[in-house]
Each structure stands twice: as C-alpha cells, then as structure tokens.
C-alpha cells in the first residue's frame, strides 16, 4: 500500500467518523449525557435506507435522504418517550438508560432483518486507479459529504439562532438555562440534526463495506474516541478528533515501528515491527485510553469541566 493510499483511506474514514461524532457531541453538549444509543440510531437509518433501496427499489440517494430524515424524527419520538422523563436525572442514569435503549434497538433490527451481512443495491462503479492510489467514486462521495457536513455545521453554529443557542449553552450552561435557552424546542432540533447526520454516516459506512445489525456497536468506540479526543461537547473538536482517529487507525498499521525504535541506526533495532492487522479495532481503544491518561479534556477541551 502506498503512502498516498493510506492518506486517502484515512480521509475517507475521518469523513465517516465526523458525521457520527458531530451528532454525539452536540447531544452531549445540550443534554449532558453520553448517548450510548447514538450509533444504534445510525444503524436504524442504515436499515431504513436498505428497506427503501432494496425492498422498494428506490435509488440510493433519495433512499438515504428519506431514511435519515425518518430516523431523525424517530429519535425525537424516542426522546419524548424515554429521555424527556429524565431531564433532571444525573448523567449516569440517563447514560445507562441510553445503553438499554441501544440494546433494544440493535436487537430489534436483528429480529426484523436477521443477522446476515447485507448490501445496498447500487451499480458497480469502476475505481479510479493511478500509479499511487486507487479511489472509488463512492469514496469521493464520502469525502464530499463529510466536508459538506462540517461546513454546514459551521454555518449552523454561527449563522442560525439554533447555533447561537447551542454555543451559548456550551459556553455557560447555567447562564444559558437562566436565559431560557435550553428549551424543549432546541432539544428537539438537536436530536433531529444529530441523528440525521449519524444516519448519513452509517449509510456511507454501509455503502463502503456491508450492513450488519452489529455495525453500530463496532463503531461506538471509534466514534466516542473521536469525540473525546477533540473535547466532548465541542463540534470542532469532534471534527478534529475524527480526523486524528482516521489517520491513526490507518497509519497505525502502515508505520514500521521497528524503524522508529531503531532511531536512524542508533539503537541497532533492525527488526521490522508492524501492528498486526488483527489489532486494528484495538487502535482506537488504545488511543482512547491514552487520551484519557494524558489529556482527558481533549485537544480542544475547555479547562473548566473535569
């Protein structure tokens, strides 16, 4: 694998993670709990898109858009049914509840669609192959959607009332609450945006690989890691975290740690030393633990909270 190829893979991964970590971070910012059902919501969107795309024969782009909107509304409904009853409960109580909700969602999907891997019906597209890298049109789409998501988030944060309210709430939660900002209306919109974005992210992952009921759980740690890495509650941090993690996951397997240990021949460490591919899922876990050890507030985290 060439160096350029690793960079492209990293950017694709970062784009997917961004879509998911942005939603996780804004829900945390407004509702002050870590939503362990976040990635499971995304999988609901993935399977709705599968239903529209394969069962009803809709092309993938309208199917993805409709599925993400429906999932966004579904999250509002579940918020009303579950989380609204616990607005005054402590973060840990709501977090455990979201874990239960996540288990219920994941297994409902497995009961309806079965445990086998599935695929969207999309026409095969020839990858663009050059001397240094190969990239599929889908991967270009993933990067474009990821960049568009970041840009629209930035615009939303700085040019809409909702964004203003969200920034106020993260700057000073008490003052924002006293000014009546964290109202139910804001919460509803935050859920919709967070889960619709997550659903798009999930669908892109499903397009690039395959669809499994378990995929939400497979990405929960990378998504949380990206979010915490950048500073939980901070949308820009979530973007940065996703980028760092995307690169770490891919470069972790590419770098010859033997050469680093060798320090240009000083130590005489001549063996090649790569992280075995079987440990790829462990990379994000280990980064997460390192981040918690060294800088628990994240790269862009504020000092105030601990």
């Amino acid at each position: 694998m060439t160096f350029t190829q690793v960079i492209i893979n990293s950017i694709v991964r970062a784009s997917e993670l961004t879509l998911l970590s942005l939603g996780l971070t804004i829900v945390y910012d407004i509702l002050k709990f870590a939503n362990f059902a976040h990635t499971e919501f995304a999988v609901v969107g993935v399977y709705l898109a599968l239903f529209l795309n394969v069962t009803l024969g809709l092309p993938i782009i309208p199917a993805a858009i409709v599925a993400s909107i429906v999932t966004g509304f579904a999250s509002i409904a579940l918020d009303r049914a579950v989380f609204k009853r616990m607005r005054r409960s402590s973060g840990i109580i709501v977090m455990v509840t979201s874990l239960g909700l996540g288990i219920a969602l994941r297994n409902s999907i497995r009961a309806i669609w079965g445990a086998d891997a599935k695929n969207y019906s999309v026409p095969l597209q020839a990858p663009i192959i050059t001397e240094y890298f190969r990239i599929t049109p889908l991967q270009i789409w993933i990067i474009l959607v990821g960049v568009a998501a970041m840009f629209s988030f930035h615009l939303m944060l700085h040019h809409t009332m909702l964004g203003k309210a969200m920034r106020a709430s993260s700057d000073n939660p008490e003052l924002a609450q006293a000014s009546g900002i964290a109202t139910e209306k804001i919460i509803t919109r935050v859920w919709f945006i967070a889960i619709a974005f997550a659903s798009v992210g999930g669908i892109l992952i499903g397009l690039e690989t395959y669809i499994l009921p378990y995929m939400g759980f497979a990405i929960i740690v990378p998504v949380f890691c990206a979010t915490i890495l950048g500073g939980i509650g901070n949308p820009y941090g979530a973007m940065l975290g996703a980028l760092v993690l995307g690169f770490a996951e891919n470069f972790g397997l590419y770098v010859n740690f033997g050469a680093i240990l060798n320090l240009g021949g000083i130590l005489g460490f001549s063996k090649e030393l790569f992280i075995p591919t079987g440990y790829k899922p462990a990379i994000s876990f280990i980064i997460l633990i390192l981040v918690l050890l060294i800088r628990p507030r994240g790269i862009l985290g504020r000092k105030k909270e601990g």
């Binding site: 945390y28 709990f33 870590a34 362990f36 579950v82 009853r85 616990m86 973060g91 840990i92 109580i93 977090m95 455990v96 509840t97 874990l99 239960g100 909700l101 996540g102 288990i103 219920a104 969602l105 994941r106 297994n107 409902s108 497995r110 009961a111 079965g114 445990a115 009921p213 759980f217 929960i220 740690v221 949380f224 890691c225 915490i228 939980i232 075995p276 079987g278 440990y279 899922p281 462990a282 994000s284 876990f285 280990i286 997460l288 633990i289 390192l290 918690l292 050890l293 628990p296 909270e305 601990g306």
Partner: protein
C-alpha cells in the same frame, strides 16, 4: 435434557452470574462507577485459570486464585487513567478495555497453549473439571453447583461486610459526588481504584467457575452483551443492595433461559428469538431506569 439437569444447570448459571452481579453492584450500585466492561474480568478469569490449569497443569485452586489475582490487578490497572474522571469517561474507557482484552485473546493463541485449531477464534476445549474423577456424569453437576454456591456465599459475605464497613460508607459518599468525601480528607481516587480491583477480583472468580464448568472457552463468549446482561441484573434487582443483586441474577437468568423453550411452542427462528430476548433485556433496563429506579429490592438507608 432432563428437568433436573436443566434446573441444576440453571442454578449454576445463577450462581456464576450472581457473583458477577454482586461485583458490578459494588462498582456501580455502591460507588457509582459505570463499568461497561465488566466482561473483561470474566474473560480474564476464564483465560487465566485455563492457562494455569490446562497448560501449566496446576491444581484447580491455584487456577481459581490466579484468576482472581489477575482480574483484580487488571481492575486496578484500568482505573489508573480513569480514576479522576467523570462517569461518562468511565463507561467508554471500560467498554474499550474489555474489547481490547477480547481482541487480545482473539489474536494470541499461545495463551492457551497454541496448537492447530486451538486458541484464538477457535477457542480452547478440554479444560479440566475439578475432582471430576470422583463423581459420575450424573452426580458431578450437583458437586459443581455446591462449589459455585460456596463461592457465591463467600462473595456475598465479603462484599456485604465491605459495604457495611467504614469503607462502604466512604464509597457510598463517592457515589453522590466527590465533594463530600474530599472534604472529609478521603482519597477518592484510591477508593475508586480499590473498588475496581475488588470488583475485578470477584469477576475473575466468576470467569474461572464458568471456564471449568463448560470445559470450553472462546473469545466469542465474552462479547459486551454479557456485560449488559449483568447490568440488567443489577438494575432490575436493585442497585446498592446485595440481596437485590442476587435476586436480579435469578430473575434475569430464569427469563433468559426459560424463553429458550418458547421455540418449541411457537414457530420462531433461534436467531429471532435470541434477538427478541435481548430486546426485552434492553427494554427492561429502560423501564427500570424510568419507573423503578430502586429495583426490586430497595437500598437500605441507614441513618448514623
């Protein structure tokens, strides 16, 4: 499977999960530590004991003690990066740690001796059952049940004594925020680490009992799912109440195992049934958290 055999099996599972539930209850119920990676201790205990007994040919009791020591040490080590952090970080860090443990055993087949089709994703079989030769195939489960119940009783007595001691009062004060114990000059970080180590020790005990009962372990048995089942036990049974933790284990295990027979009566596929079972577990957690915060058996409030 005869009814008696099934009931003995069920009772053994209740005992093993009862130990897990008691140890998670110490961490979550009493101390407020959201440990979403409890299965890591279970897994480590199972593999440590298998390594000691199967590969190093040590007696069962050494395997059992080794399992407890390694799992306890692991609990202590993973709480180093998290001991000063808020509960959200605990949850994800422990979840991640448990997955690292599972991925480790998935990749390193030498841990259980290696050999073709052994270790790694193949799992490892032929784990010796303690004192197996003294009993017939029919009477052995009864003996093992006795072993499990003795361990459960010991766990209950020790954790109960701990939670009623001054140590227990400190960890309960940690649950409602760091300010009070800190004002009293307690080292909150050290207490959290001790709780993780003690909880881990008993989690390891459960893992050892599991491995030697089934005689076969593989990384697939230690999915995060197991952690969530134990969480359901603690929440449904009643957090911060040791009797509640055991009641929770009994209730959830009866539900979990009795629904297996449903497929004999209604036409439903095994996979669908397994999924629906977990849907119920998830919904139970949600409902208990909203409507029944105290669980089946309420925490005893003591006024000093």
């Amino acid at each position: 499977m005869g009814l008696v055999n099934f009931l003995v099996y069920l009772a053994i599972m209740m005992g093993i999960y009862g130990i897990l539930s008691l140890s998670l209850n110490l961490q979550y119920g009493f101390t407020g530590l959201a440990n979403f990676g409890h299965v890591a201790f279970f897994c480590l205990g199972a593999y440590t004991s298998t390594r000691l007994v199967l590969v190093f040919k040590m007696p069962f009791i050494i395997g059992l003690l080794g399992a407890m020591v390694i799992a306890g040490l692991f609990g202590y080590v993973i709480s180093i990066p998290t001991a000063n952090l808020k509960e959200d970080y605990w949850a994800i860090a422990t979840l991640a740690a448990a997955e690292v443990v599972r991925i480790f055993f998935l990749n390193e087949d030498w841990v259980v001796g290696g050999g073709p089709y052994q270790g790694g994703s193949f799992g490892i079989g032929g784990i010796p059952q303690p004192l197996r030769s003294l009993f017939s195939a029919y009477t052995y489960p009864f003996f093992y049940l006795a072993v499990v119940l003795v361990c459960l009783l010991a766990t209950y007595v020790i954790i109960n004594a701990l939670t009623q001691s001054p140590f227990g009062r400190v960890i309960k004060s940690i649950r409602s925020g760091d300010n009070l114990p800190q004002a009293l000059g307690k080292d909150v970080r050290a207490f959290r680490m001790k709780v993780m180590a003690i909880g881990g020790t008993f989690g390891g005990l459960a893992g050892c009992l599991w491995a030697h009962y089934h005689g076969f372990i593989s990384p697939n048995q230690f999915l995060p799912l197991e952690t969530f089942i134990v969480w359901a036990m603690v929440i449904v049974g009643g957090k911060a109440n040791n009797k509640g933790a055991i009641v929770g284990a009994v209730v959830i295990m009866v539900f979990y195992n009795s629904t297996r027979f449903l497929k004999d009566y209604i036409p439903i596929e095994e996979v669908t049934l397994a999924s629906l079972r977990m849907v119920v577990i998830g919904v139970l957690i949600v409902i208990a958290m909203i409507f029944m915060k105290e669980g089946l058996i309420k925490e005893k409030k003591t006024v000093y």
